[in-house]
């Protein structure tokens, strides 16, 4: 039995690598953001540009689009590593896959969820979101997209060995996304009404912590099953 690098070193090595790959493949990184921006642009054009129509649907709409953008980027999380054999190397390195999945999901969040949350105020303006809702929007999206990325890693890991796993991935993951969507859009709506929204945000943060702890276990198990078949 020999020593292998500690989990913290495996985590930083994996995280750095994800950012490096993303920096080299910039179009993949911008894809969900462009999707997010363009749909938010289409909604006022397609429905009505006036504030009376847009303001009531803005919180839910922005949240739905953010959720779909994350969903769109999910199938790539483990796919290329599976195809070039890196995933095997991760499993056989002797490292606990738990930490490697955390590193990958965290990088996925930094590259999709975080920019979405930071961009959301601009979209709020386009959707005529009332001024009271902005803080709630950004905070709920920060925690919410975090949960979406970690929960999504399970589906991504389960379907990685399938050639066309996209549809199955959506079917597996969408039900798990429902609570996050409900709490997220309701926190923004409550904030718009001027009522306390901390309850929903606290629940979102709780879901985020829970998914951070549990989802990597499930994803690590799924990867082992996917590779073994």
């Amino acid at each position: 039995m020999s020593a292998i690098p500690g989990p913290h070193r495996a985590l930083t090595a994996s995280f750095k690598r994800e950012l490096l790959v993303a920096a080299r493949a910039r179009s993949e990184f911008f894809n969900p953001l462009i999707f997010f921006l363009s749909i938010t642009m289409f909604v006022p054009l397609g429905i009505a540009p006036d504030a009376q129509t847009l303001a009531p649907i803005a919180p839910g709409m922005i949240w739905i689009i953010a959720l779909l953008s994350v969903l769109l980027s999910l199938d790539r999380v483990f796919q290329s590593d599976f195809e070039d054999g890196s995933l095997e190397q991760m499993v056989l390195s002797g490292q606990s896959l738990y930490w490697i999945v955390i590193a990958k999901s965290l990088a996925h969040w930094v590259l999709t969820g975080l920019p979405l949350a930071l961009l959301s105020p601009i979209l709020g303006v386009m959707m005529a979101l009332p001024g009271e809702g902005y803080v709630a929007l950004v905070v709920s999206l920060l925690f919410g997209t975090g949960s979406l990325c970690f929960i999504g890693a399970i589906g991504s890991a389960l379907t990685v060995a399938l050639r066309r796993g996209g549809l199955l991935l959506s079917l597996i993951i969408i039900p798990l996304y429902v609570p996050v969507l409900i709490l997220g859009s309701s926190s923004v709506q409550t904030a718009v009404l001027g009522e306390p929204y901390l309850g929903q945000v606290a629940l979102l943060a709780a879901i985020w912590l829970l998914s951070l702890m549990i989802a990597p276990f499930a994803a690590a198990g799924s990867i082992k099953i996917s590779l073994g078949t």
Partner: protein, 221 residues
């Protein structure tokens, strides 16, 4: 003494055994070649030994431990068909990542991060010194495989599982690779590799998977 034991292993695919009753014991210092026609299960047996696939019967163990245990993985270097090189990264970055999660797997010293110089020396040995900082998608297929083979020069893992290590490597490269493998076996390592190339050497033990084809299959046909 380190050993890999394979006991009556069979692997079933689509209700038919790919191979069955494979038994062997390999000790440290041995180089084993898995041979056989295309599709006879060389890669599958290799992946069973690595602990990725579960054999449908029998068991494979390393010093008495299961091959999917930490005891085995912390001393394993596996080179698959897909070598695990990210084409978007340079050979150097790929090695930094690989050793970042694997370490040198040395049993003596605790795992110290490898310096750039050490990795560059390994890349020089596989003839990639000039390409250390060139993205791998600009390299040829053989060069990409060489970048993966550079791991062999830095790793102290006792067990090497090499699936088709000679693919896309030129004649001089193959000779160098054979030298590294012999040196590793000489220092007490175990090497299992698959290849269609003949390697005439007394040190090589050959396991021909053709001998383990299920007999019942022929009757059914």
């Amino acid at each position: 003494m380190n050993r890999i034991e394979i006991e009556q292993v069979a692997f079933e695919r689509d209700d038919v055994n790919l191979f069955e009753d494979v038994s062997a014991t390999w000790h440290q210092g041995e180089i084993v070649q898995l041979a056989g026609k295309n599709g006879c299960g060389k890669t599958t047996l290799m992946r069973c030994i690595a602990g990725i696939h579960q054999p449908s019967a029998g068991k494979i163990s390393w010093n008495g431990h299961n091959v999917s245990s930490f005891d085995f993985r912390s001393t394993l270097l596996y080179l698959g068909h897909q070598v695990g090189i990210k084409l978007l990264m340079t050979p150097m970055e790929n090695l930094l990542w690989y050793f970042g999660i694997n370490g040198t797997k040395s049993s003596e010293e605790s795992s110290i991060p490898l310096s750039r110089e050490t990795l560059l020396a390994a890349l020089t040995k596989v003839g990639l010194a000039a390409f250390a900082d060139v993205p791998c998608f600009q390299l040829s297929a053989g060069q990409v495989r060489r970048a993966a083979l550079a791991r062999l020069y830095c790793s102290y893992a006792e067990v090497w599982l090499l699936d088709e290590p000679f693919t896309a490597i030129d004649i001089a490269g193959v000779e160098a690779l054979k030298g590294v493998m012999e040196a590793h076996a000489g220092t007490g390592g175990v090497i299992i590799f698959t290849s269609h190339q003949l390697w005439d050497s007394e040190a090589i033990r050959v396991l021909d998977l053709e001998a383990y084809r299920p007999k019942a299959q022929d009757i059914a046909l």
